[in-house]
Homo-oligomer: 235 residues x 2
Amino acid sequence: MSINADERGGVPPWGPTVVASVSRKDAVGIEIRRAIILGRLKPGDKLTETQLATSLGVSRPTVREALNQLTREGLIVQEPYRGLRVADVTKEQIRDIAVARVGLDMLAIDAILADQTGRRMQIVEEGWEQFERYAFHPDPVVQHEAHLAFHRQIWAASENYLLLKLWPVTEAHITLAIAEDQTARDDPERAHRVHADLMVAIRTKDRDTIEAAFVAHTLTSAEELITLLGGEETQ
Amino acid sequence: MSINADERGGVPPWGPTVVASVSRKDAVGIEIRRAIILGRLKPGDKLTETQLATSLGVSRPTVREALNQLTREGLIVQEPYRGLRVADVTKEQIRDIAVARVGLDMLAIDAILADQTGRRMQIVEEGWEQFERYAFHPDPVVQHEAHLAFHRQIWAASENYLLLKLWPVTEAHITLAIAEDQTARDDPERAHRVHADLMVAIRTKDRDTIEAAFVAHTLTSAEELITLLGGEETQ
DNA sequence: CCTACCTGATTGTAAGACAATCTTCCGTGA
DNA sequence: TCACGGAAGATTGTCTTACAATCAGGTAGG
């Protein structure tokens, strides 16, 4: 696990698709998120600054800056002077995440439906097209990122400045919830279908229909995950 | 502007009320937020890492960690290799902040109203009592923090894990919006009254009444602020 | 007057050092 | 044998110094 291209034979670990260069700090953050998405770093795993700095080939100050950000987002839990852990979420928290997400999604939807020009709906359509392009990509990280990008685009379509500011923390928690859900990552057909259902509902432009779809998409999925986790109390 | 108690005669700059010690990094963050609240740092003001480190009496790495966090929250805007600025918000963004806040507040209220035990409502009452204790404090920073603490407590009362994770970014934007509103800071009577009105509405336990109160409290205030800002486009 | 280059300002990153805090293990005493 | 205290190791928190990278502004030359 290193972010220096020269150590990996030319292709940086965050892949060839990033056009704008990213800072080392951001690259570290990307790499840690990927490791969580891929299950290489699991909820509860312990980490240290020195270990991460060494394996990522950067200095401790650089890794600290990335970790501070991940900590603030909620992906990493820091225990001063003791080390760090990949965050895990309890079943109750998974439900809370879903409840808040539906509320926030509906805030976005209200703004989209309020738009008489159709421009915001168009932005959602473009997000859907992007999603379809990558929904079946062989790389599970690309699939996950396509999923996140689609949901982010719904919020972006609302053109609400604060919603977008809240996205990174929300994204981190979506990632954590999905990291608990091993099966979700392995079923791109299902992932595509549930998003297609969402898109069908959005196109009706009927608020109640859309809300029911988001509840099904998010809350119901959360309850299924909680059932799957069964007796495993994750905290 | 320094965070070392020994340079200030014993009392740390963040005041004697902090019981748990805070890290230097956190103390730096607190100090910069206070300066923004007090208007000593104004929207658009330019800052440099070196300048802040010197005046706060800490090292550049420490200041960087604090600034990274403030940047992520939205209080500071960073321009790589050029310097930093106190964020300012446009009138449209002030409206967006208010719209999103009402939505989030109502998410919290829904969770509070759903609670049959009355425990969550009790938490709101305790938040109100705390607010009343400090609403007329002579220090405007204490007043502002009392205001933030009261609103945070409404979210805390929802016991929704993700809502609380979203609070710091929301708080930063409340602070920015209020920093634009010079008059709001100077009228603790009015501040107390508008929060008392909110509390009266919350106690009715009628969702529509509460929503109307939050709209009046947040959206209407935002529109008033936008009118006050008049022709001054802050972007 | 315009363009190019150089310099200054500032951030991004690193290395090494040490302080602070917490945990674990070992030794001693009861 | 158990409990307590102290020491050592692990890890973060903070600092200092240094240099690379990038951008903006000013000056000089054409």
